[in-house]
C-alpha cells in the first residue's frame, strides 16, 4: 500500500527560480530638474487612495448641484413658483455655489494637506527626500503643487460642469450675454481657495510632527479667525460703521476667500441662487473693501510659504 509523503519531508527547500543577487543599475537617470513633479504626483496618488477624499469630493459637488437642480426646475416649472430664482444673476448663482463649497474645500485641504509635511516629520521622511537629488525648494514646490492640484480639481470641476450646463441650457436666457467673461471670473475665483489653503496649510504642517495636531491648529485658525472677524464686524455694525463692518467680517481665512470671490465674480452674496433679504443679518449692502482683502490673502500665502521654508531641513541642527 502506498502512502503520500507530507511536503515537509520532501527535502530541503529549493533555490529560488529568480536570480535574487544584486545587479547594478546602468539604465538612464534623468537630470534632477523635475523632482517636484514626482513629489506632486505622489501626493495626488496618495490622496486618491483615501476614501475620505471621494466622500469630500462628492460633498464639494453638492453646492453646485443644488443651483443646477433649481435652475432645471425653473426651466421646467410652468407655474413660475421659482420665479424668485430668476431675480438672481448667473454670476450670483456661481458665487453662491462657490461660497457654499468652501467648507468642503477646507475639509479636503485638511485631509490632503495637514499631513503633507507633518507626516514626513513624524516618519523622518525628509532624510529620504533630501538625500535624493531634490532641493528643499523642489520638495516644497512638489508638496504645494500636490495639495493645490487636488483642491483645484475639487473646486474647478463642479464649477466647470455648472458652467457647461448653463451654457447649454440658458444661453437663450442671456447666460453668455449677461457676462461674457464669467468663465474667467469663475476660473480665478475657484483657484483662489486651493492656492491659499495649499500655501498656508503647508506652513502650518511644517511645524508639527503630528498630522492631527497640524490639522487641528489649522482648523482652529480657520474657524477662530471667522469667529473673531464676526465679533469685530458686529461691534462695528452696532456703532454704525456698516462699510467697515462688512470688510471686518471678511478678515478671516474663510472670509477673505468669500470677499475676494465677490470681487472676482462681481456680485453680492445670496443663498444657493436665491437672494438674501435685506433684513437678514447675513445680507450685505456692499462688497468688502478690496485692498485689505488682497493684502490679507497675499500675507497668508507668503506667511505659509515662509514658515514651511524656514522649518524644512534634512537634518535637525541643534545650535549650541
Amino acid at each position: 500500500m502506498s502512502s503520500i509523503r507530507p511536503l515537509e519531508s520532501a527535502g530541503p527547500a529549493p533555490a529560488p527560480i529568480a536570480d535574487t543577487s544584486y545587479r547594478n543599475y546602468d539604465g538612464p537617470l534623468r537630470p534632477p530638474r523635475f523632482g517636484w513633479w514626482i513629489v506632486a504626483r505622489m501626493m495626488t496618488r496618495l490622496a486618491w487612495k483615501r476614501k475620505g477624499f471621494w466622500v469630500l469630493l462628492f460633498f464639494s459637488l453638492m453646492p453646485y448641484l443644488l443651483p443646477a437642480f433649481l435652475l432645471y426646475i425653473r426651466s421646467q416649472d410652468q407655474t413660475r413658483l421659482l420665479d424668485m430664482l430668476a431675480q438672481r444673476s448667473f454670476s450670483g448663482i456661481f458665487y453662491d455655489a462657490f461660497a457654499g463649497a468652501q467648507l468642503w474645500i477646507f475639509l479636503l485641504a485638511l485631509l490632503v494637506g495637514a499631513a503633507s509635511i507633518s507626516g514626513d516629520n513624524r516618519a523622518n521622511a525628509l532624510q529620504i527626500y533630501l538625500s535624493k537629488p531634490l532641493t528643499k525648494n523642489s520638495y516644497l514646490l512638489g508638496k504645494w503643487t500636490g495639495i493645490f492640484g487636488v483642491l483645484a480639481a475639487a473646486s474647478l470641476l463642479p464649477a466647470a460642469l455648472l458652467y457647461l450646463y448653463c451654457w447649454g441650457s440658458f444661453t437663450d436666457e442671456g447666460f453668455l450675454s449677461e457676462n461674457p467673461y464669467l468663465w474667467l471670473q469663475v476660473l480665478t475665483a475657484t483657484l483662489l481657495p486651493p492656492a491659499l489653503h495649499a500655501s498656508f496649510l503647508l506652513g502650518v504642517s511644517a511645524w508639527f510632527k503630528r498630522p492631527l495636531l497640524a490639522g487641528g491648529i489649522y482648523a482652529g485658525i480657520y474657524f477662530g479667525s471667522q469667529i473673531l472677524a464676526g465679533i469685530v464686524s458686529l461691534i462695528l455694525r452696532r456703532v454704525g460703521q456698516d462699510e467697515a463692518s462688512v470688510t471686518a467680517l471678511h478678515c478671516s481665512v474663510p472670509g477673505v476667500l468669500r470677499g475676494l470671490g465677490q470681487h472676482l465674480v462681481d456680485t453680492l452674496p445670496g443663498f444657493y441662487g436665491l437672494p438674501i433679504r435685506a433684513a437678514n443679518p447675513m445680507s450685505q449692502s456692499a462688497k468688502p473693501e478690496l485692498l485689505p482683502l488682497v493684502l490679507l490673502c497675499v500675507g497668508l500665502v507668503v506667511l505659509g510659504l515662509v514658515l514651511a521654508r524656514v522649518r524644512v531641513r534634512a537634518v535637525e541642527v541643534v545650535r549650541g
Binding site: L29, I38, M42, A125, I128, Y129, P133, A314, V315, V317
Partner: protein
Amino acid sequence: MSIASLHNLTVRYGRRTAVSDLSVEIPEGAVGLLGPNGAGKTTLLKTLMGFIRPASGSGEVLGLRLGREGLRIRQRVGLMPELDCHIPGMNAVSFVSFAGELCGMPSAQALRRAHEVLEYCGLGEARYRDVETYSQGMRQRIKLAQALVHGPSLVFLDEPTNGLDPEGRDQMLALVRDVSHGKGVNVVVSSHLLPDIERTCDRVIVMKGGAVVAEGEIAALREVAGSQVDVELREPSEGFLAACRVRGLAVLSVTGPRIRLGFPEPLAVPQAREVSTPASSPDFARVLFSVAREAGAQVRGFHPARRSLEDVFLEALE
C-alpha cells in the same frame, strides 16, 4: 583611488565645532567610520551628502565638488539614514520605486528595479505591505533597498544594525558585506560597533572629537609592531613556558593553552625582499617545535600575533 576626499574641513553647529580641520581620503571598497558617540561620524556623512554646509574647507565626492554639485552627488550616492524613516502611506514597492524616481529613474525602470532590490534585501514576500506595519529589521532592510535602488556608486550606511536582534544583525551585515564586495558599490559604514565594522569593511577611519585619529587597512592596523606570535597548545604546559624563556623568547601573555611569544627582533630571511614574520619563518618553526618536544607539549597551531579591532580602537582614542 579615493571615492571622497576632504581638505581642512570644519563643520560648526553655532559655536560648537563638530568636525575640526579634517583632511582625509576615503578609498574605494568598504570603509568603516568608527568613533565613540559624538565623534563627528554622522556630521561627516551629512556634510558629504550636502545636508550641512561646512564652515571652511573643501572636498570632493566621486570627483564632484562638495557644496557646488550637491544634486549630482546625491544622484550618484545612496544614504541609509540612522533614524527609522519611511514615507507615510506607501507600501514597500511604491516607496522604493518612488525613491528611484526621485533619483531620476524613469517610472517603469524604477518599478522593475524596486522589485529586484526588495528581493535582494529579503523583502520580496512583504513588498506589498504598508511600510508602517514593518518590524524593525524589515525597516532597516527597506532603508537599504531605497539607498540601492538607483544603482549608486557609493552608499553611506549610518548605523545599519541599529535596533536589530542578533539574527537580523547577521543578515544585515551579510547584505552589506555582499553588496560592497565585487558588486561595484563602494560603501562607507558609520558605526560605533566594532564587530560590525570588522565583519563588513576592509579599511577603517577612526574619529574622535571631530578629527581623524587613525586610518588604514584593518588587517594592517591589527598587526602587532615587532615580532610576536600566538601559539596554541593542546593543553597548558608550564614546561613549555620555561623552555621558551631558556631559548630567549619572551612570554608576553598566557590565556589557558594560548600563549603570545615575543622576539627581540624580527627574523629576516636572507635574499628575500620582505622581512618575514616569525610565524612564516622556517627558523621559528624549528625553534618552536624543538621547545615543544623538550617540554613534552603538543602545538596545535601558531600565527603572527594580531590585536583585536577593539585594541586598535582604544589605542587610537588614547
